[in-house]
């Protein structure tokens, strides 16, 4: 954690980003603009999902084009558990659903982590373009499964009538729900920072830089990557559960390849492998979506242009521009 404690330009920028994200919803509430609270919540949740992907993509160099699968699985866990709690029908093995967020989170983390383990175990036998394609293929399988499964809404999706509950607070209050998401995001960022600085993180990052080197010192890159991929999937799954609660709706669109692409775009915009890259990217993305979306329906055209500029001229993303090159110690 030492490099996090030291005052560097990057840490300062991270602090400002975190403070801004916290300040906006309070200001919005004060000025009676609850819409902006929702916008900030959306940023926090997308940043959380991208922080999950950042573990695989940023640290491990694993370009997963299938993280929507985990995001959607987290979403469906929230939706399905809530639906069963509402109807009273037992779920599996006589277990009932639940409206408790923290139970939903635990289930979402475990389930998406396990699915990540399975998808990773197969996908990580390939690399490069094949890895991208095989993760995409798995996500599409989950997507079409959700569409063709009528029990939980199929193509139409599944509504969560009342937002799930968290002990001691009213989650229906937008600001409260934002704070829950914000704290979860900060915890995930702390986890990312810890992992990045750890032995496991060292091996994961080394495997990105030079797989042969890692094997030559006696560490099996496959195991390291698989573990990293599963943790990455679990964090993105957690974000999916929150996203479903934000919208009080989950549909197969959360599982679509657009979502996978969006998460990659967030990371590239913000800065690949940077601690606050996902948050910077998510903030930029949501602000573009909102600001440009108000001006033109074709806002994604302009997002494409911006992405082009970032890839050509600012490969470190927003954090690369503001804080300079990443330091690896």
């Amino acid at each position: 954690m030492r490099e996090i404690m030291i005052v560097t330009r990057e840490n300062l920028i991270n602090l400002i980003l975190a403070a801004l994200l916290l300040a906006v919803p309070f200001a919005a509430e004060a000025f009676g603009q609850p819409f902006y609270v929702t916008l900030a919540t959306r940023i926090a949740i997308l940043a959380l999902a991208a922080t999950g992907l950042n573990l695989a993509l940023g640290l491990g160099g694993l370009v997963s084009f299938g993280h929507a699968a985990f995001f959607g699985i987290g979403g469906y866990v929230a939706g399905i558990l809530a639906a069963h709690a509402f109807s009273g029908d037992p779920l599996l093995f006589g277990l009932s659903g639940t409206k408790q967020m923290w139970v939903i989170w635990v289930v979402a983390v475990i389930l998406s982590g396990l699915v990540g383990l399975v998808i990773g175990a197969i996908s990580l036998r390939t690399s490069g373009v094949y890895f991208i394609m095989i993760t995409l293929a798995f996500a599409q399988m989950v997507y079409y499964f959700a569409i063709s499964w009528p029990a939980y809404g199929g193509e139409d999706g599944l509504s969560i009538l009342v937002r799930n509950q968290f002990p001691g607070v009213s989650t229906m209050r937008p600001l409260t729900f934002f704070l829950i998401c914000y704290v979860v995001l900060l915890l995930a960022l702390a986890l990312f920072a810890l992992i990045r600085a750890s032995r496991f993180g060292a091996a994961l990052q080394a495997a990105r830089q030079n797989e042969v080197r890692v094997a030559t010192v006696g560490i099996q890159p496959y195991r390291i990557r698989l573990t990293g991929f599963a943790i990455s999937a679990a964090v993105t799954g957690l974000a999916g559960a929150l996203f479903a609660d934000l919208n009080r709706f989950v549909s197969p669109s959360m599982l679509s390849w657009h979502m996978s692409g969006e998460l990659i775009v967030l990371i590239i915009l913000g800065g690949t492998g940077r601690l606050f890259g996902p948050l910077a990217g998510a903030a930029l993305y949501v602000i573009f979506e909102y600001a440009l979306g108000g001006l033109t329906e074709r806002w994604q055209f302009f997002l494409g242009l911006i992405l082009l500029v970032v890839v050509l001229f600012a490969r470190g993303g927003l954090l690369g521009l503001l804080a300079g090159k990443a330091k690896h110690g």
């Binding site: 030492r2 490099e3 810890l194 496991f200 080197r213 094997a215 030559t216 006696g218 690896h328």
Partner: protein, 249 residues
């Protein structure tokens, strides 16, 4: 006789109709430098790949440190203490030299599945790694990204990593390649001391280095060992002279 550290017997590897390794038998004894020489295309690289596990032999056996390693993967062989350097240095370029060596130290210590303790506050990792860097004379450059190290420094870094593994044998693939005359000389001096740590299988084109260092030399031509012997025996061998050494002897 002492048991060899590395024992290769009747190794065969075919690529289609090409027999790249043709019944190679070779051993590496404690404390020696065994040089493997041969013209380009003789199959030296193929042989090395089989020893370190990136290629699987078609038949034959490889024993290392008292066990059959012929079916183990690269990482498992490294764990047993097979330290290697590459013709083109293989390093993690974004990491500093120190962090490169720390990676080897953490592998040697056992587990890379530790998620919370920061490596940069782990004295046992840092101190051991620094000691290895000091042995290869890279202390002053320890904290520079490995990508910015010179060719020779990267070679030193690779050796530091092999040392950190506690290697029982070193497999050095053309360590002199791309080194200037000064660099070659100092590396030769260093390798001369390294043999006391663990025996070295040295694949090398630089004949000055080979003749200066080797206790024994094996000559590989078209996938076959055509001669094995001391420096003097190899220098005098008429077959070797026509096949490879030419005017160098």
């Amino acid at each position: 006789m002492v048991e060899p550290v590395l024992q290769i017997s009747n190794l065969v590897k075919n690529f289609g109709a090409l027999r790249a390794t043709d019944g190679v038998t070779l051993d590496l004894r404690p404390g020696e430098i065994h040089a493997l020489i041969g013209p380009n295309g003789a199959g030296k690289s193929t042989l090395i790949h089989q020893i370190c596990g990136t290629l699987r032999q078609d038949s034959g056996a490889i024993r290392f440190a008292g066990q059959d390693i012929g079916s183990l993967g690269v990482a498992q062989r490294a764990q047993l203490g097979l330290g290697r350097t590459f013709q083109v240095s293989s390093i993690a370029p974004d990491f500093s030299g120190l962090r490169n060596v720390m990676l080897a130290v953490q592998a040697k210590q056992g587990s890379s599945f530790r998620f919370f303790k920061p490596v940069m506050r782990d004295r046992s990792l840092i101190d051991t790694a620094m000691a290895m860097l000091e042995r290869v004379g890279l202390t002053a450059r320890a904290r520079i990204p490995a990508a910015e190290l010179s060719h020779g420094e990267r070679r030193q870094l690779e050796i530091a990593m092999a040392l950190a593994l506690g290697s029982k044998a070193f497999l050095l693939d053309e360590p002199m390649a791309g080194m200037g005359p000064e660099g070659s000389k100092s590396l030769t001096r260093f390798l001369d001391t390294l043999r006391h740590e663990a025996p070295i299988l040295l694949v090398e084109h630089d004949m000055d280095a080979v003749f200066a260092l080797a206790d024994r030399i094996s000559v590989l031509v078209y996938g076959r060992i055509i001669a094995t012997g001391t420096v003097e025996e190899i220098r005098r061998d008429p077959i070797v002279r026509t096949a490879y050494l030419g005017d160098h002897a």
